[in-house]
């Protein structure tokens, strides 16, 4: 999947393929690496091409948990919510621009919702409070999620644009931090974010 992404980026970018990799590291106040931070780079020039990601646009419910915890989808994507549990779920989101409610549906039933606006949909189950997931709807292809190391490599991001860090527990208005950056056309770029996280975050 990643290879494909890299390829797609490379195909899009003329010239030095694999040359413009942006590595972003996210640490918390104590310097520990922060996982599950979503980094987006939105070029000032805008994005014209359609965006597609290689991973399936679905949030399954299994073992009373959403899977995955964080799903990144492009604007306009339809996300499916298959129920793999034996109990029924009531999936909803009150997030602005991404409101939906999938009332009680059972095992092996699947519902879907199309997200038409960039943003973050906090997805929950009205029956099971502990079930949480986030669907990050993006309008840029340059996006990545930090691994346990706190680092993510975003390929192909060059030029001036807005670098944005979002994390479910980020203590900031809107739960995100932004930074205007100018990325070099070639060569590796490094960006680091130190963020403050609210305590009691998700177990993931």
């Amino acid at each position: 999947m990643r290879a494909f992404l890299s390829f797609a980026v490379a195909a899009l970018m003329a010239g030095n393929a694999f040359a413009a990799d942006l590595t972003v590291r996210v640490t918390d106040a104590s310097g520990a690496p922060v996982e599950n931070a979503v980094i987006t780079f939105t070029p000032a020039a805008g994005v014209t091409t359609p965006i597609r990601f290689s991973w399936p646009y679905q949030v399954a419910q299994q073992n009373l948990q959403f899977d995955p915890y964080i799903l990144i989808v492009p604007v306009g994507a339809t996300v499916r919510f298959p129920n793999l549990d034996r109990v029924r779920h009531h999936v909803y989101s009150f997030s602005e621009g991404a409101r939906f409610e999938l009332e009680l549906f059972g095992r092996d039933e699947s519902r879907s919702h199309r997200f038409t606006q960039a943003g973050v949909a906090a997805v929950g189950c009205n029956i099971h409070d502990q079930m949480q997931a986030y669907i990050v709807i993006v309008d840029t292809p340059y996006v990545g999620r930090t691994a346990a190391t706190g680092a993510v490599v975003i390929a192909g991001a060059i030029g001036q644009g807005t670098l944005r860090v979002w994390h479910p527990n980020l203590r900031a208005r809107g739960g995100a931090m932004t930074r205007v950056v100018t990325l070099p056309a070639s060569g590796a770029a490094q960006e680091a974010f130190s963020v403050q996280l609210r305590a009691g975050g998700h177990a993931h």
Partner: protein, 777 residues
Amino acid sequence: MRIDRAFKRLSTKLTVLYAGLFGLALFAVALSVYLAVSDNASRTVRRELSANGAVFDRVWAMREQQLRDSAGILARDFGFRDAVASMDHPTIDSALDNLRERLQIDRAFMMSVDGQLIGLDGAVPAEADLLWTALDAEENASGVLMIGGRPFQAVSAPIRAPNLIGWIVFAAELNPAHLTSLEALAAIPLEASVFTRAPDAVWRTSDDAIAPGDISAVAQLIERTSVNGDAPQLVRVGGAPSIAVVKTLHNFGGDGASVLLLRYPLALAMAGLQPLLASIVIIGLISMALIVAGSWALARGITRPIAALDHATHALERGERPHVVVETTDEIGRLAASFNVMSGEIATREQRITHMALHDSDTGLPNRRALDAAIQATPEGFVVALTIARYRHIREAIGFSLAVQLVQALGKKAQASHPALTIGRLSADTIAIVLAVADEASALALSADIRETLEGRIGVGGVQVDVALNAGVAHIRDAGDQAALDYALIAAEQARASEREVALFDPVAYGDPASNLSLMSEMIDGINRGQLTLHYQPKFDLRTNAVTGAEALVRWNHPTRGRIAPDVFVVMAEETGHIAELTEWTLIQAISDQQKLRAAGADMLISVNLSGRLIGDAAFTELAIGLIEDTGAQICLEITETAAMKEPEAALVNIDRYVAAGVRISIDDYGAGLSSLSYLKRIQAHELKLDKSFIQALGAQSREALLVKSTVDLAHSLGMKITAEGVETAPVLALLTGMGCDIAQGYLIGRPMPLGDLIETLPHAAPQTMQSTASAI
């Protein structure tokens, strides 16, 4: 010791002592009961407070849980979360209002993650910031939250949709009403107040019952609690001590501090004990009164006999003879018995002393003091003194013991004849009797009667004694109490001297003894001032029928007392040692007068009386001889026979010196005393003067005539001239002339007269006298 002096009465002292000791014990008991009871009460209160602290913890937790449950329910409500997520304010408000009403919650509001407050009025911005910080820091924050400066018990619940979008906060005000409900839960009436410490470290409370001044005390209590734990402690709130326990409250967000102060006024704790303490006090007072009454009664029982003894002792001091009646047989009874014995013995002794004081120890007759007392009791009366004549001779004859018995016998005899009279021994030889008669005649008669009774033969110790008595009577009023006995004694002496049986005191003869000494100094003064003069009684020579001499007799004309008898002041001068001055003056004056007589043509031998006391005086003899030799005067010194005999050796030597110096010596008053022939033999006298007692009784055929005649012969045989004194009649003069008497002296010849008169009569005296003498014959 001081306390002993503070009480005048033993019973008071005992009562105060007992009552004091009992009061002290009672006070100690009451104090310990009070302390035990109050300590118990205090411990009960402390226990209650601790228990209530635990109750409070549970109540607090319960309320918190209630709030939390309610908040949690709302926070999870799907519709509510929908409304919050879409920030549907009207819906949120209505939902919160609905819940507030339903659950009776003071405050219910929410805060969005980005700090927006919904459903809360009156919060100040600073509080909103603190609230956000607290909510943000803690998932389910709870504790004391200040809203609008007032404390609330608050809980929060996160609103998830499903991510955190805000918090629900439910708050119950910690107002008096709320705390009252907590107070109501306590077994004892507690007073609860909440204190919060603001970030400025100042403790505050919304409880109006706590005065601002008490806050510092509470703050100290909180500090102590934080150090020592939450054991109940004593604190003063509103001026009254309270037992208090401090419960630390969790603060919303953990910033600042809050405490709950549970306190229980000590007065309330003690209020339940008031009846007990009151009954202790009442019992104590009643017991005290009983003890005081009992001690007083007991002390009186003990002290009454002592007081009786005390009174009796004072009575004894006053000279009464008290008798103490004590029925008991204890120490005090024995003391009283001893006291009675002692009192009796003192009385007996006093009687004996009084008897001794008032009676003569030899005779047992009342003494002078007793007589004095009787005199004082008889102001209108007389005292008679009966002096035993020749007592000295009687005593020498029969011995001292019998002489005393004699006096005793006389006293008893007098008493027997006059039992009503006070009869006492005044001096060794004198008995005095106080006569209660008013007039002089009766007194003299009674005295004479008594004297008559006593005089005569009386037997003492087998010896018969003839007793003669002289009675002297003195008028008590005239003499005065003090002097009456002396006057009576003097009167007796006067009686003896004048050979009377009874004599009334003669003040003229006696003079005034009180002024004797001053009289003497006045006499010396009188000599210098010329108050004293010499009178001369002529001496008629029967052979030459001429006045050949004169006897100088001193006269004193006192300016205030008038003429003072020579018997008085001459005798007094002898007694007081002033006779030398008087005699010297007399000698000088006589010598001077002799020269005047000589100048007037009369050469006369002047006789001067020389006191017996001066004959033995060598110094005076020297002086007198000097005076006489210097002037060549012709002086005859008249010496009384008895006077010369007192100091025979010295007198004889001096007489010899006078004779050697040409002074003539005359023996005066010859025959009146116990005349001694050896005396006549030894004295080189020129003249013998026959006492007038012989001359006045002289008759032709009398014994006196024989005596005078033989004495004339005796004198002539010894080479002396003889002078007859007291010649008052012509027959006597004729007899004397016939008997060969040399010189006559007396009123017939001439009374004592001043020098001037003597000189005037002289040229014609002899013929005139001769004529008168002749005619008298």
